[in-house]
Symmetry: C2
Subunit: 148 residues, 2 copies
DNA sequence: TGCATATTCTTGCGCGAGCAAGTACTCTAC
DNA sequence: GTAGAGTACTTGCTCGCGCAAGAATATGCA
């Protein structure tokens, strides 16, 4: 019965489960850190990041959803929360009455900058610092390869 | 203001966000696949896997929680669901009346073997197949390094 | 022994997520 | 210009998760 399926080799298990475990632990730690120091979830940070990175400093809900790998309804609620706390504002899209854009308020930008310092330090300490530039390059290429 | 913080280099961004994105997409796809073909969540699969891998074919709730990187209460509910569907059974731990062990039923083992075929094929197709053995080895070493 | 403390698991509660249905607006075709 | 189809977002619902409190059992120590 076991023989029906070819199981993974130890190396394969190491590469795959290590990946899963690394992600689970990093995500949890980085989220805890942001929440503890800024009261901002990793999701909230990600949204503020995407907004700040976008060319016009704002994004339509659907674009935000795409970039955040989040459902549209999920995006609505993240933006709800950020808006309720005063970090983001909704505006109607010029020329399309159906559309809504989210953009950071001043307070949102301030929070983002502070949170970014924490977050980048965390990512460096827990992830980036373990690799040489060449290794980072190899990793980046790795992820790129998966997308094809 | 921007100058206060040293931002990530493009390579760093590629390595880090690629990692996040790869995980998000793989996890979603593999979960969808298992649910569609076997009505089993990735969590449920993981629990069945851990139970089947464990030396005695069963695990205490707390050990299962540790290995699954899940809270104890979360573990209680996953096992609840699997038990309700008849794939897992709870038994009291011999010699410790507080303890509970989970172990697969026959149906659970059958489901696991079927799901494993699907899942391994999915992991190979979406992840493992993109790498040489040497690359897998490097990846495994990568994750090992993060744990220290 | 017997009582306080610790351990193991479950339960109550609230939150963040997705799906499907609802609402509001736009576009197409006649 | 208006009906019907399409698009963009929000809302209702349900589910999975963690935390904190609770229940049951075990342990330590007088």
């Amino acid at each position: 019965m076991q023989g029906d399926v070819k199981l993974l080799t130890p190396v394969e298990v190491g590469a795959w489960r290590g990946f899963l475990r690394a992600h689970a632990e990093l995500a949890r730690e980085l989220d805890d850190e942001l929440v503890a120091e800024h009261g901002l979830s990793l999701r909230g940070y990600e949204v503020l990041l995407l907004l700040h990175e976008s060319p016009r400093g704002r994004l339509r809900m659907s674009d935000l959803a795409d970039q955040a790998l989040l459902s549209l309804s999920g995006t609505t609620r993240v933006v709800d929360r950020l808006a309720r706390e005063g970090f983001v504002r909704r505006t109607r899209v010029e020329g399309d009455g159906r559309g809504v854009e989210a953009r950071p308020t001043k307070a949102g930008t301030r929070l983002f900058r502070q949170a970014r310092a924490t977050h980048l330090a965390g990512v460096r300490a827990r992830f980036l610092s373990h690799f040489s530039v060449a290794e980072l390059d190899a990793l980046a290429a790795t992820w790129e390869r998966l997308r094809a």
